[in-house]
C-alpha cells in the first residue's frame, strides 16, 4: 500500500524528517507516537503534499505510484485521506454543497457522472446518522463555528464518503472529550474492513485504546527510533518518551 524509503523532509530550510522508513500493508493499522514538537505531524503533511514541505531525499510509493510527484488533489483521488488536526473553515460554503463537490470530484476521476441530488441526500442522511451528525449541520458553513467534536466528526464523515484506501489521522484526539473520542473512534473502527490501511499519529495512548493498532512506532529526532506491537504504546504511556 504505502512504502516510505529513506525520506528527508525540510520545512523552511529546517530539516524535520531524517531518513524515515516505513512500510504499511493493506488492512494494517499503524500508529506513530512521539512527543510534542517532534515533527510527527510533518509526516502527515508531507504525505498529503502540503506546499512548503520539501522532500530533499528518498521516495514514497503509494499503490505503486510515485506519491511525491503528484499534486495534493491527485493524491486524494488516488485514495489518500488526511484527517486534519485542525480542520479548516470555509466561510460561505455550505457543508452539504462542499461534501457533494468533493464526492463528485472523486466520481469524475473514476469516470462516473455527478451524483444525483436525491441520491446524495440519501447517502448523506445515512452516513450522518451513523455518526450522530444532525442534518442541520450540513446547512452551516464548512467547519465554521463547529465545536471540536463536530469538526472531527465532519472529517470522519468525509473519510466515509470518499472511501479512501489509506487514512492518515493527524492528532485526531486533540480537542475531544472522552465521549466524543469514543464515538469518533467507533466510527473510524467501522471503516476498518481489512483492506483499508490507517496511519494514526498521536501523542497519547488514549486514542489507541479505542482504535487498536497492529504496529506502533516511536518517532524521535526526525525518524522512527523503535517499533513494536500495541504493547509498546502502553509502555510509552507508563514510562514516557525519554526512556528507551
Amino acid at each position: 500500500m504505502l512504502e516510505i524509503k529513506n525520506l528527508d523532509v525540510s520545512v523552511e530550510d529546517k530539516q524535520i524528517i531524517k531518513n524515515l522508513n516505513l512500510k504499511i500493508g493493506p488492512g494494517e493499522v499503524h500508529a506513530i507516537m512521539g512527543p510534542n514538537g517532534s515533527g510527527k505531524s510533518t509526516i502527515a503533511h508531507t504525505l498529503a503534499g502540503k506546499p512548503n514541505y520539501l522532500v530533499e531525499a528518498g521516495n514514497v510509493d503509494f499503490k505503486n505510484e510515485d506519491l511525491i510527484a503528484k499534486d495534493p488533489y491527485e493524491r486524494s483521488l488516488l485514495g489518500l485521506f488526511l484527517a486534519f488536526q485542525y480542520p479548516i473553515e470555509l466561510p460561505g460554503v455550505t457543508n452539504a454543497s462542499y461534501l457533494k463537490q468533493i464526492l463528485n470530484a472523486h466520481r469524475k476521476s473514476r469516470g462516473e457522472n455527478p451524483i444525483d441530488a436525491g441520491e446524495f441526500l440519501k447517502i448523506l442522511k445515512e452516513k450522518s446518522r451513523n455518526l450522530n451528525i444532525p442534518m442541520e449541520m450540513h446547512s452551516r458553513f464548512v467547519n465554521a463555528g463547529f465545536s471540536g467534536g463536530e469538526k472531527k466528526k465532519n472529517e470522519v464523515l468525509q473519510m466515509d464518503l470518499l472511501n479512501p484506501s489509506l487514512i492518515i489521522m493527524d492528532e485526531t484526539d486533540s480537542g475531544l472529550d472522552v465521549d466524543a473520542l469514543k464515538s469518533t473512534s467507533e466510527a473510524v473502527n467501522k471503516l476498518r474492513d481489512g483492506k483499508r490501511s490507517f496511519l494514526i499519529i498521536t501523542h497519547y495512548l488514549r486514542l489507541l485504546e479505542y482504535i487498536e493498532p497492529d504496529h506502533v512506532h516511536v518517532f524521535g529526532d526526525g525518524s522512527i527510533i523503535e517499533s513494536g506491537d500495541k504493547s509498546l504504546a502502553s509502555r510509552i504511556d507508563n514510562e514516557g518518551y525519554e526512556v528507551k
Partner: protein, 480 residues
C-alpha cells in the same frame, strides 16, 4: 508552444468574444447636432424628445470628462466614434420574430438567450438590444394583458410619451455629469418598464445588451417605473466581441418606485475585459440611480461585475419616501489588467429610511478594484439606518484593493454601521480542499464563491447558477 496555449486559454476564458457578420448601417462618426438629429429621426421620435436631446448636447459642450476616478483611462476622442449602428434591414423595424434576420437570432442563441418564445427560458421575458437597436422583445403581449409595459425605450417614446416625458431625467438630471449628459444627448436603445398599480410582475424581465459593431459606442437608456403597490424583478446581461480597441458603453438607468412599490434590479456584467496584457476591452461608464419616491418603497440593486477593461458605476438610491429601503449587493471581480471603481450612494431624505450595502471585491492578476461609496443622512431623515459591509479578497500579490466609504450624517437620530475586511485566500484553505480531491482552480472557485455567497443568493434563481460559473471563469489562470 506556450504562446499557443495561452491564446487557447484566452478563447476559453471569454467565450462571447465572437463577431456577428451582419451588414450594418451607421451614422457617420462624430458628435454634433446633425448626428443627434439623425439618431432622433432614425428612431422616429417626437419633437419634444429631440429638443430634450439637443438641450443635453448644448449643456455637454461646457462639461468636462471627469478625472477623479481611480483608473487609468486612455483619452477618448469623442469625434472619432460611431454613435449609432444598427443591422441594415432595421429601417422598417421587424414586426415579429419571423422578420428578424436569422443571424441575429443565432447570435443570441450562441449567447444562451433563445428568443423564440417556445424555446425561451420559462418565466423570463427578454428584450434583446444589439448595438443601437432592440431586435426583439419576448412575451410582450402576454405581459400587456395584465397592463405591464415591457418594450424598447424607443418604442415607449412613441407609444407611451406621457410616461416617458414624466419620468425620463427625473432621477438622473440631464446635467448630472459628463457621461450622463452625453447619454441624454445620444442615447440609442434600452428597455422601458411600467408596472401598473398593485401588479406583481409574474415574470422576470430581462434585457440582454450586445455590442457587435466596431468603433461604436453603446448608449443604453433604461427606465423602470413601479407604480403604487407593484413589484418587478429585472435583470440585465452584457457581452461584446474581443477587440484590440477600447469601446465605450455609457448607460443611464433610472428607476422610480412609488408608494409601497418594490424594484429588484440585477446586473450580470460580462463585457469583454481586454486581453491579459490589458489591450482592448469595454469602458463601462454607467450611471444607475433609483428613486424611492413613495413611502414604504424599496429598490434593491444586485450586481455581478466581471467584465470590462474599466468599470465605473455606482448604482444608487435616493430614499425620499418615508420608511423606504435601499439595498446594494455587489460582487466585482477584476483579473489581469482590469480596473473597477464601483460602489453606491445611499441618500437618505425621508424618515425611517433604511439602507444596506454589501460589497465583495475580488482582485487577481495586476488588476485594481476600488469600492467607493457615499452614505448621506439628510437633516430630516430621522431615525434612519445604514449598514455597510465591504470585503476585499486578494488573489496573488500584484493586485490592488481600495475601500473608500464616505459618510455624511446630518441627522442626530440616525445611525451608521460599517464593517470592512481585506483578506487573501489562505494556503490552508486551498490545501484543505485539494486534500479532498479538488484541483487548484476548483478549490479557489469554491472559496471565492463562498466569499460572494451573500450577494449571489440575491440573484433570481434562474441566473444564480450562471453567475457562480462566471465567477469561476473570470478568475481562471489566476491560481499561482
Amino acid at each position: 508552444m506556450n504562446k499557443i496555449n495561452k491564446d487557447n486559454f484566452k478563447q476559453d476564458a471569454y467565450k462571447y468574444g465572437f463577431v456577428t457578420e451582419i451588414e450594418d448601417e451607421k451614422i457617420p462618426k462624430g458628435l454634433n447636432e446633425e448626428v443627434i438629429k439623425l439618431i432622433s429621426r432614425k428612431k422616429n421620435e417626437p419633437k419634444w424628445m429631440l429638443e430634450w436631446r439637443l438641450a443635453a448636447y448644448e449643456r455637454l459642450k461646457s462639461m468636462e470628462v471627469p478625472k477623479w476616478a481611480r483608473a487609468n483611462i486612455a483619452e477618448i476622442d469623442f469625434q472619432d466614434l460611431y454613435y449609432y449602428s444598427s443591422p441594415k434591414d432595421f429601417k422598417d423595424k421587424p414586426k415579429s420574430l419571423q422578420e428578424v434576420d436569422p443571424k441575429l437570432l443565432e447570435t443570441y442563441e450562441k449567447l444562451g438567450i433563445p428568443l423564440k418564445e417556445q424555446e425561451a427560458l420559462a418565466g423570463v421575458a427578454v428584450d434583446a438590444v444589439f448595438d443601437s437597436v432592440s431586435v426583439a422583445t419576448t412575451f410582450k403581449e402576454k405581459l400587456n394583458e395584465i397592463g405591464v409595459i415591457f418594450c424598447p425605450i424607443s418604442e415607449a417614446i412613441q407609444k407611451h410619451p406621457d410616461l416617458v416625458k414624466k419620468y425620463i431625467g427625473s432621477v438622473i438630471p440631464v446635467t448630472d455629469h459628463f457621461y450622463a449628459t452625453l447619454n441624454s444627448a445620444v442615447f440609442s436603445d434600452g428597455s422601458f418598464v411600467y408596472i401598473p398599480k398593485n401588479v406583481k410582475c409574474p415574470m422576470e424581465l430581462s434585457t440582454y445588451f450586445r455590442i457587435n459593431a466596431s468603433e461604436t459606442g453603446q448608449f443604453e437608456r433604461t427606465l423602470i417605473i413601479a407604480d403604487e403597490g407593484s413589484y418587478v424583478s429585472y435583470l440585465e446581461g452584457c457581452t461584446a466581441p474581443m477587440r484590440d480597441e477600447n469601446q465605450l458603453h455609457a448607460a443611464n438607468v433610472e428607476l422610480v418606485a412609488l408608494d409601497n412599490a418594490e424594484i429588484k434590479y440585477s446586473t450580470v456584467q460580462n463585457w469583454y475585459p481586454g486581453n491579459e496584457d490589458g489591450k482592448g476591452g469595454i469602458y463601462n461608464f454607467v450611471t444607475k440611480r433609483g428613486l424611492c419616491k413613495g413611502k414604504n418603497s424599496k429598490i434593491s440593486w444586485t450586481q455581478i461585475e466581471t467584465g470590462s477593461a474599466i468599470t465605473w458605476k455606482y448604482p444608487s438610491c435616493i430614499l425620499r419616501g418615508d420608511n423606504s429601503t435601499g439595498e446594494f449587493y455587489s460582487v466585482a471581480i477584476t483579473n489581469n489588467h482590469q480596473q473597477a471603481d464601483t460602489g453606491t450612494k445611499m441618500i437618505h431624505l425621508g424618515k425611517n429610511t433604511k439602507s444596506r450595502i454589501v460589497s465583495k471585491g475580488i482582485s487577481a492578476g495586476k488588476s485594481s478594484n476600488t469600492y467607493r461609496g457615499l452614505v448621506n443622512f439628510h437633516r430630516k431623515a430621522e431615525n434612519s439606518k445604514n449598514f455597510t459591509q465591504c470585503d476585499s479578497l486578494l488573489v496573488g500579490s500584484n493586485c490592488k484593493a481600495n475601500t473608500i466609504p464616505l459618510t455624511e450624517n446630518n441627522s442626530n437620530t440616525s445611525s451608521l454601521e460599517h464593517e470592512a475586511t481585506t483578506s487573501k485566500i489562505s494556503d490552508d484553505q486551498l490545501f484543505y480542499c485539494m486534500q479532498r480531491g479538488l484541483d487548484a482552480e476548483e478549490a479557489q472557485s469554491l472559496i471565492v464563491n463562498g466569499f460572494c455567497k451573500e450577494v449571489l443568493q440575491q440573484l433570481p434563481m434562474e441566473f444564480a447558477v450562471e453567475a457562480q460559473k462566471l465567477v469561476s471563469i473570470s478568475l481562471e489562470g489566476s491560481v499561482g
